[in-house]
């Protein structure tokens, strides 16, 4: 490999790292719900794409709404969908049956996906790509404006989210419920309230992630739901179930590796290596990157 290839490879890693912030947000959503409820919400990525679609719907009356509004609309839709998902797919499902909740979220995944397909007739819609004409050059490198925007937005969301989780009363309640549900009730924390708020907050993060992928690719398609679900799960597992820092790091790593593999081996083989990475993690380090004791549940 000569120098030029090396630069191209580094370039693709950089691009992937920037886009990886989307995966990190999705990973946070998956992992937080798992942390609080010990359940996986498989409909999460589909709901995120749904929220991005929702933002288009909300703003359909306005031509060229400013970026901030688009993303806020996506977050709003995500929050609403999140609450709906909780009430349909979690609230009334018997807790003792882990299978039932998993499948109810699968049902919701199909439901959301199909509603999107049905309302759009499967046609991909253009999504406002932001700053796609901006290119920052650093010597041989160039950083794409739209990806940089996505990255900065993703980081901002993560910082806000971490502040919410570690610096507020709600954050304390959320962590308390995830660590010790009975004691948190004894402290006067309402589990229902925390659950709903968890779904709303992760829904908002997901909505922003959905809008970010729309903005980075330049369009929205229902076909995005499935790969994003799979990527989100991969990030969650590699990061360690329930670990928020793990999800962030894993999201960036998966983004970077995916882009690198695509550069080296092409788009078809790219996912093969990502899957192998996931598989290797599951078999040899099931607790994820930051596992305290590998092999333990």
């Amino acid at each position: 490999m000569d120098l030029l290839d090396l630069i191209d490879a580094a370039q693709s890693v950089a691009d992937g790292l920037l886009f990886g912030s989307t995966y990190a947000l999705l990973g946070i959503g998956f992992t937080l719900i798992f942390g609080v409820m010990h359940k996986i919400n498989l409909s999460y990525a589909a709901a995120s794409i749904g929220a991005a679609y929702g933002s288009l719907l909300l703003l359909s009356g306005f031509t060229a709404a400013p970026a901030v509004i688009v993303f806020m609309a996506a977050a709003l839709c995500g929050g609403v969908i999140g609450a709906l998902v909780y009430f349909i797919g979690f609230k009334f499902i018997p807790v003792a049956n882990p299978l039932a909740t998993l499948m109810s979220t699968v049902g919701l995944l199909l439901l959301i996906d199909e509603i999107i397909v049905h309302t759009t007739e499967g046609v991909p819609l253009a999504y406002p790509a932001l700053y796609s004409d901006v290119v920052v050059r650093l010597g041989q490198f160039m950083l794409r404006g739209d990806l940089m925007f996505v990255f900065v937005l993703g980081c901002a969301c993560m910082v806000l989210f971490l502040l919410l989780l570690y610096r507020t009363r709600l954050g304390i309640a959320t962590r308390a419920v995830s660590q010790q549900p009975i004691a948190s009730q004894l402290c006067g924390i309402s589990i229902l309230q925390v659950n709903v708020l968890t779904f709303v907050v992760t829904g908002m993060l997901g909505g922003i992630a959905g809008a970010m992928s729309g903005a980075a690719i330049g369009m929205l398609s229902p076909l995005l739901a499935q790969p994003l679900t799979v990527k989100g799960l991969i990030v969650t597992v590699i990061g360690g179930l329930g670990s928020i820092p793990g999800a962030i790091i894993a999201g960036l790593i998966v983004g970077a590796l995916e882009s690198l593999f695509q550069f080296l081996r092409g788009v078809t083989e790219r996912d093969l290596y990502i899957m192998m990475l996931l598989f290797a993690f599951l078999v040899f380090r099931p607790g994820g990157i930051f596992a305290k004791a590998p092999g333990r549940d």
């Binding site: 499967g122 046609v123 992928s213 690719i217 995005l224 790969p227």
Partner: protein, 141 residues
């Protein structure tokens, strides 16, 4: 293990009765062109059938055309409709009503002098219909 063995025996028994390898039958090939029929998700398709070997047009057949989405086996499939034969030799016409845009496997079943099934992969979009090209980057990120 016993279950598997039982099953294998059954399959062997069931299919042993069928006549073996009857090669040299007529195989068909089809050229399909579709245009939007005006309505959303409705398409008029013209199918030109020919003998795969000799290239001779195949006429006088009963042709039914269905479609399903390869990405969802057994789901989203469209009930097969009969195609009507045209004046042009080997040409048949059919109107397809699909459920969504995207890649569809159009299934052409022939009955009569020739019995065969021909599959044609087409991408149906709002304005036009194209042949599906391999690895056209269906998946983005």
């Amino acid at each position: 293990m016993r279950t598997i063995v039982c099953m294998l025996v059954a399959v062997a028994a069931l299919t042993a009765g069928y006549p073996q390898a009857a090669h040299g039958q007529v195989r068909a090939k089809a050229a399909v062109t579709c245009v939007s029929a005006g309505q959303v998700l409705e398409y008029d398709c013209t199918i030109r059938l020919a003998n795969a070997r000799s290239g001779e047009p195949l006429s006088g057949l009963t042709v039914s055309v269905g479609a399903d989405m390869p990405s969802m086996p057994g789901m989203h499939n469209v009930r097969a409709v009969k195609a009507t034969e045209q004046a042009e030799k080997g040409a048949y016409k059919v109107r397809l009503e699909l459920e969504m845009h995207g890649d569809w496997a159009v299934q052409i079943d022939l009955r009569g002098a020739v019995r065969d099934r021909v599959i044609s992969m087409l991408r149906f979009e709002e304005a036009d219909v194209t042949d599906v090209k391999p690895s056209s980057g269906r998946r983005g990120h």
